[in-house]
Symmetry: D2
Subunit: 345 residues, 4 copies
């Protein structure tokens, strides 16, 4: 049984980690930290964990943690995470960082998009971007994983098969619809129930920090950076889920069958990614609460490929993928603790 | 006081007409028909009309109606509407048809998309497409208006300023998000609460009948038909509203200021269309229950103009616009009975 | 045209006042104040008012206001309202106070429930409790109205006919279900979308401040205070609406017909209260956005009368009732500006 | 590995059984039947089961089933279930019936409330009412379990501790709020999204079939039938969950501490029932997707005990409890396959 710490456990991704790990047969949570809630029973903040996880939030000092734990999940805000990562990595623990701090290879780009200098640039070269469907082999040998953002997970899983085949044209349009939990547990007017329920609206048009993460990783996949990416996130009145509707002009005159074959080849053996039958497109409800990604693909006229992916932003888009990455790093079967079906309805 | 009939009043657009007309100082509803509910008090089906409209549904025979009424709103299903329109028009009433039956100028195209031959093709030449912001002058002189579809209303209001300036490039992507009332009062699994609540999904990808309505009317606006239109509707867990997120590659190298100026010119004097301040984009909540359309415009890099429009699908997208058209046809001030603000929250 | 001030206009009841008054033919809003938003266009905070109310929030100083305005609506938080009421009343304006500050006749009781001494106790004797169905005559002669709380409005409209007939037994159970807008625009964890959407929960069990308001006013109606009132509010994932399910053990052996007759007698001529047909009970959707109250009544076995009322908490439960009270005070027809039907669906 | 059949698997309780059993280490589903969907892949109807259960719906003939399966879950509609139960029971399988057909000990009462004569009355004496917290010992020895209704589960878990202590007075008021999945997958106007979203309403006031189930089982618990039960269900715009708010006049002058002690005694060792800390009341969100029941208890003035329970209607209120009962019947640890935490948010 591996002993785990969840560092920064009072947000929704933290609570989701505790939920998932409670059902994981090989990992036991020994510590859950949350500075501002130190001393508070976790189940007081998250009654869903009543009788499931009976621990108390600890303060966020890292030193004590690393001796007791084999693995660590870091759910701190960006900027905070990179302060504790060096100590954790040096301790010999396997670490998954769920913040944005390790998502850019170039510290200057991090500073550009997150507005603060990077304090641990030397770790960037070793951190593996934790999208197992793309980077599985690299993940096996690392001890530091940068867990992708929720939007980039949904987008890149839809773009990857076409991108690695070199058939992606430009411009690429990603119109994404997210549930409100993606904005976190922090109180804002935008996430106040009466402001968001029973309506839909865009936000951060042209400015969302996940756009450079998507285009940067996409350039890595394609070996070049020539594709222009337009990314528009929307807030939908639902708790969980991201539906990414993507419009891919194919550079080459691929037939509908060839385009579909790219996705079949990429995902037929993947445990968590399912290509839906032709003519079907995914919704977010069927993946709710699961680590699954459903993909729909259809070629429209004019060489336009419409690709949609649906994930649960808190599971495949965050905590579930973090556990998947940890399983790979630790040599466990990749699906361990993650096989639950979506909660429907 | 003009006397009105609402023919086919048991759907949501019918109920919405009764709600709006109850507050209209110049039009009085004398008849509301609904074949399957003949004899049922309207307020039994729609308790919201208790104390507001105390009529009883009549059967759908048209003959008796036309003698009593000056104006008629037809909310029958497509295919049914064109059976009664000739009699209504001949009677001398002013008629607004809310069905799809008069939306195509070419009856062959109607048959192609709606799967049934057109039974009143001679009316098509006289019917004016009821988008007042585009066709106001034509509407003044007609006695038959074809009320636009809900999606086409939202889309065309966003495309019109760029289209008439001739700067629209190709392909054009319209990613639309609709509330569930847009699917009507008919029971379907897709609109069963547990199937649709707390999730988002696309439907009719590449196949929706509103796509040819949009591209056909757009070609009319531009004087040519060279733009390829991709239209993807999504079902969002909300009662009302359509948010249309549109990606317009501008054919010419228009500057951001020039692009914005096209929208200011088009809409600065419009009573129901508001261009939001730069950097702002609309949500559906603020227009809920109103005849208003909010528009947001921003030029992104690469000459890509992002335009969003928000309307209430049952008001500006259907019954409110029908009343607006009727006001114009009848020589009433265009805003009569339609000035209510959106219900927020 | 009466000139109005809305003092404390940045909350949901303030926005709702501006929405309703925009459609009121005899009252024009001259001033809308909100200390923390002074200088901000109202439509920036509430885009639903774009093109409907183009004013800018002013600071909250009252002196300048009273010279310009004939009527004033006070939407300040409790404790703040009673600081400005004396000046307003002295100015000769007609005033409706939407806060809790004037809801108790006894200042000691106010202090007991709101935790702060009353600073304007001399006004209490003159303030009329603004439930027109109960106090219409008194309202005609006053210049200061205390607008009832949202829960008390729904509860008292359901209790009044039985209470005034003297047939109410004890204990009385009021199980109320409210939309989230009732908690206001203030950010709290309880009203953060992901915490409240897709679930239901009680709050303030046995402790809500509206319980003593209900029982106090009920005692006034009955001429005694012998009924024990249990009141349990619940938060329902909807924007607007209060459904009050009430269990009334009738003290006397009234027949079902006699019980129903009490409600018919009380409400058959009321413009905003509708008794639904026997066997029907109200939902909140049909009254959404309207000043209407729907009432359902049924005698169950054992002399237990089940009474339910549905209102929109922001309209009949707050701003609509405030305008109704103002109409009465000003000698206008009571329904002026308030006849709109509920927005359904 | 026990082999299981899910008979009548196309409803939400059927899908939920397949979801839960997919994670059950000792039971494997061999057959899922659904007459009208015979031949359809289960994942086509329930995409949430894509990659989780890859079977195809079979027709509902029972004969073939019973030879292959050790255990059977029957999710047929009432009236249909009792047609197949005799064959299943005779086959030697362990059977859990999720319909209402076995819920009354007296067939005359069944006929009274369900409107059809009972066709298998001889089974009634052997069927054990499957509320493990009450009937655990009886469940161990039976091969036929009648799974309780969703409302009775929530209500009886709240009433049981007081009822068995003999302190329950009369009348007893149960005000219940249910998610829409409780009404099943059948299309009705009441569960059409636009009719139910963003509102709350009661239904079946004084007439719901779960009332006699509750009062009948309660009488069994108390050894008498003197308590009058008023039960009012409400439909809340959420997918899952039942919150039962219950008002219990205690017959004896029990102190708050004594009342609470009754609940502590009853539930301190229960795996799925948690008594929340004093002053806390449950919401439905924290139990969503789990087999847990959260209970809150507080004594108000006048000897009125307010008790609330929250369950997921599809899990503890149906399919989860069915699996719990099956575990007990089969001698498996009671929690097997059911330990997942609630999905929050």
């Amino acid at each position: 049984m591996l002993k785990a710490a969840v560092i920064g456990a009072s947000g929704y991704t933290g609570a989701e980690l505790l939920r998932i790990l409670a059902g994981h047969p090989e990992i036991e949570v020994k510590r859950a930290t949350a500075g501002r809630y130190a001393g508070t029973p976790v189940a007081e903040l998250f009654p869903s964990l009543t009788g499931v996880y009976d621990g108390v939030f600890e303060g966020t000092a890292v030193e004590g943690l690393v001796e007791d734990c084999d693995v660590a999940f870091v759910g701190l805000p960006h900027g905070e995470s990179m302060k504790v990562l060096p100590t954790l990595v040096e301790s010999g623990a396997k670490v998954v960082d769920l913040s944005a701090d390790m998502r850019f290879e170039d510290p200057a780009e991090y500073e550009l998009h997150y507005g603060t200098p990077h304090s641990a640039p030397s770790l960037l070269a070793d951190a593996v971007y934790g999208l197992p469907e793309v980077n599985r082999d690299k993940l096996k040998g690392t001890s530091l994983v940068s867990n992708p953002g929720c939007y980039p997970t949904g987008a890149l899983l839809g773009l990857y098969p076409a991108a690695r085949a070199g058939v992606l044209g430009s411009p690429l349009i990603i119109d994404a619809k997210s549930g409100v939990s993606g904005a976190g547990r922090k109180l804002t007017l935008e996430t106040h129930y009466p402001q968001v329920a029973d309506g839909v609206e865009p936000y951060a048009v042209g400015e969302h920090r996940h756009r450079p993460e998507i285009s940067g990783r996409l350039a890595g996949l394609m070996g070049e950076s020539g594709v222009e990416v337009f990314f528009t996130p929307h807030l939908v009145p639902m708790n969980r889920g991201i539906l990414s509707t993507m419009y891919l002009p194919l550079a080459e005159g691929a037939s509908p069958e060839e385009a579909r074959a790219l996705y079949e080849d990429a995902y037929s053996d993947e445990p968590f990614v399912s290509l839906l039958p032709g003519g079907s497109f995914p919704g977010t409800k069927p993946v709710q609460g699961s680590n699954n990604c459903h993909v729909g693909v259809e070629m429209l006229s004019g060489g336009m490929l419409v690709v949609m992916t649906a994930i649960d932003n808190l599971v495949k888009g965050a905590s579930g993928q973090a556990v998947q990455n940890m399983n790979i790093m630790c040599g466990l079967p990749e699906e361990t603790g993650l096989t639950g079906a979506g909660l429907f309805p």
